[in-house]
């Protein structure tokens, strides 16, 4: 067992912990959104590293070598997750822009008017 095989998974854990730290402890809303993006990248890396099989090639038929191909489900899932990530990040950033207009601040301590 080569420790190098676990390298992607170690990176996934690192990214997720970094992202969670930012989301939980940073007060700046933009930084929180960046933290979410970091977790998202961790999730994508996790899925991509799951799909890896040694000696298999990517499932592209154009001029492919005649060897076995990996199942592209995790790649499709990663791609979907990236697309969704774009949409959610854009939406959250728009909310922050609007919040800045209304409250004059992007600090999460100031965004507490809903609470009674």
């Amino acid at each position: 067992m080569n420790w190098f095989n676990f390298f992607p998974l170690i990176m996934v854990v690192t990214l997720v912990i970094m992202g969670l730290y930012v989301v939980l402890f940073k007060k700046n809303l933009i930084k929180m959104i960046m933290g979410i993006a970091i977790i998202q990248n961790g999730a994508n890396l996790f899925l991509v590293s799951l799909a890896y099989r040694e000696g298999y090639v990517a499932p592209i038929w154009t001029s492919a070598p005649a060897t076995d191909m990996v199942l592209p489900t995790p790649h499709a899932l990663t791609l979907t997750s990236i697309v969704i990530g774009v949409a959610t990040t854009a939406l959250m950033l728009s909310f922050v822009i609007m919040l800045k207009k209304h409250y004059g601040s992007i600090n999460s301590d100031d965004a507490r008017r809903c609470r009674e």
Binding site: L99, H102, C114
Partner: protein
């Protein structure tokens, strides 16, 4: 070859809202009337296909719909590597619950939102949310579930922030968005666990290959946390009161329906997929704990609210607790003799309460929306005397309020009675808690009623539009039907759903 249109109905339930969501902005460029017509046609067509699917399921039985296949109903070797939809009794129960509220809310928003411009986006988001929830409850593939989960999150956040001239709406939407995006990522991780373990994502294949290893338990735990968060169960309920109270009045019940949709998905997963791989009592007890917490915390937080929409939002959190507790009791007794004795009744009560809850909660939120429309305030201390000028809304509020409090003979009573009876046999304390929560709920409904409707006439000149009355009337009729024929509902709608999950006695 030609496939029966009825067998294609699940895809239309998903597709019609999607297609009409994309058509609405185009129609909006032509005229407002056309846009409204497109929207309502989309909703009614969806309702039509829901009833067609129900008819087909109840006459010929359930089937699996395979996307992209030559024959959508034939199961081959590759079927489960495609996207599949599962049309069975449980899907009928879920889609029925969703579409009743959606049609009510759709009609209501014609009157309620008529003073706002740029409604093309509003209707688009509405139909997208509908498509998302429908996809969540119909799909039988984890990958697909993730997609619809995120579609629902994004579209419903857009709806919550629709009044973006108010900072509070944006704030509530941002909170909900951050929570649901992180939930979506955790769902992605649990999907990754399942894929890494078994290399499959379809419910059927996962069910058949699950062996209850540690990684399974981790993934199941993640899925349960995520879906109960979406279902606004305590302790993950903090987004719900904000989102419910800051969303546009006509949309609030629809946000609540996305919660119910997630609860349906949770029950589908634990009963249909995870049942074989886990100790039933562990998941069952977890659900019972979450349910009791939700009931208790929801109703006690509601006590101190003076904002009428926030109050009902907390009541709705406590109603979610009833369903989780009842279904948890059913799940905990699975595989023992107790299940036949009372467990199946608990599940019946839980499911019946879900469809009831969808309807009466919508009615309550909509009648409160009528109050806010007329009186232009949400503060219970400033409301008063509305019964003089709004007799219809008063009547609708009484029906909805008595139903949520479980007063006979209304529909809420029938489902709660089933829950009390069965839960009492499992553990009497649970039944007592449920009863106490019901009594406090009744007191809170009384508080709203006295504060908002009774008292001297305040001479409010504002007339609420006819479409709002109409939609509340429709929902009231449905509640009355459920109240008059609870046995029929249980035997014709709930029992097939339980059978579809494979846990019928």
């Amino acid at each position: 070859m030609n496939v029966d249109l009825l067998l294609q109905s699940p895809v239309f339930i998903l597709g019609i809202p999607l297609l009409f969501a994309f058509l609405t902005p185009l129609a909006d460029k032509v005229s407002k009337e056309l846009r409204n017509a497109v929207f309502i046609i989309g909703l009614l067509l969806t309702a039509l296909f829901v009833s067609l699917m129900a008819y087909e399921v109840y006459t010929i039985g359930s089937w699996t719909y395979v996307f992209g296949a030559e024959d959508p109903t034939a199961i081959t070797d590759v079927s489960f590597f495609r996207i599949t939809f599962l049309a069975d009794g449980f899907a009928v129960l879920a889609t029925l619950t969703i579409i009743i509220t959606a049609v009510g809310v759709g009609i209501y928003s014609f009157g309620n939102m008529k003073d706002f411009d740029d409604l093309g986006k509003f209707y688009t988001l509405f139909l997208l949310t509908l498509a998302g929830v429908m996809g969540m409850v119909l799909t039988s593939d984890l990958f697909n579930l993730f997609v619809w989960f995120e579609v629902t999150s994004i579209a419903s956040c857009g709806l919550i922030a629709y009044h973006n001239e108010r900072g509070e709406s944006v704030e509530a939407a941002l909170k909900y968005m951050i929570i649901s995006v992180i939930a979506g990522l955790l769902l992605l991780f649990s999907i990754g666990f399942f894929y890494g373990e078994y290399g499959v994502l379809n419910y059927f294949l996962i069910r058949d290959s699950m062996d209850g290893a540690f990684i399974d338990i981790l993934a199941i735990g993640l899925v349960m946390v995520i879906l109960s968060m979406k279902a606004s169960s305590v302790p993950m309920h903090m987004w719900a009161p904000d989102a419910y109270s800051e969303a546009p009045d006509s949309i609030t019940p629809f946000i609540a329906i996305t919660s119910l949709g997630s609860l349906f998905v949770l029950f589908r997963l634990i009963f249909f997929v995870f049942r074989g791989a886990v100790e039933p009592s562990s998941i069952g007890n977890l659900l019972i704990i979450l349910g009791v917490l939700s009931m208790f915390v929801g109703v006690s937080m509601a006590l101190k609210q003076s904002d009428v929409k926030r109050l009902i939002a907390y009541l709705s959190v406590s109603q979610i607790g009833y369903m989780m507790m009842a279904v948890g009791v059913g799940f905990a007794t699975l595989g023992t003799a107790d299940y036949g004795a009372f467990g199946v009744n608990a599940v019946e009560g839980g499911f019946f309460h879900m469809i009831n809850d969808g309807v009466y909660k919508a009615l309550l939120f909509l009648s409160v929306g009528g109050i806010i429309y007329a009186a232009d305030t949400r503060d219970l201390n400033r409301l008063g005397g509305l019964a003089h000028s709004m007799p219809f809304t008063t009547f609708f509020f009484i029906i909805g309020g008595l139903s949520i409090a479980g007063i006979p003979p209304l529909s809420g009573f029938s489902s709660k009675l089933l829950i009390y009876k069965s839960v009492y046999l499992y553990n009497p304390v649970l039944a007592i808690i449920a009863l106490v929560v019901s009594i406090v709920t009744l007191a809170l409904i009384g508080k709203i009623f006295f504060n908002a409707f009774l008292g001297p006439d305040q001479k409010i000149g504002m007339k609420i539009p006819r479409s709002m009355i109409l939609s509340m009337g429709v929902l009231t009729v449905i509640i009355v039907i459920f109240s008059l024929f609870p046995n029929y509902v249980v035997s014709e709608i709930i029992a097939p759903a339980i059978e579809a999950l494979g846990v019928a006695v």
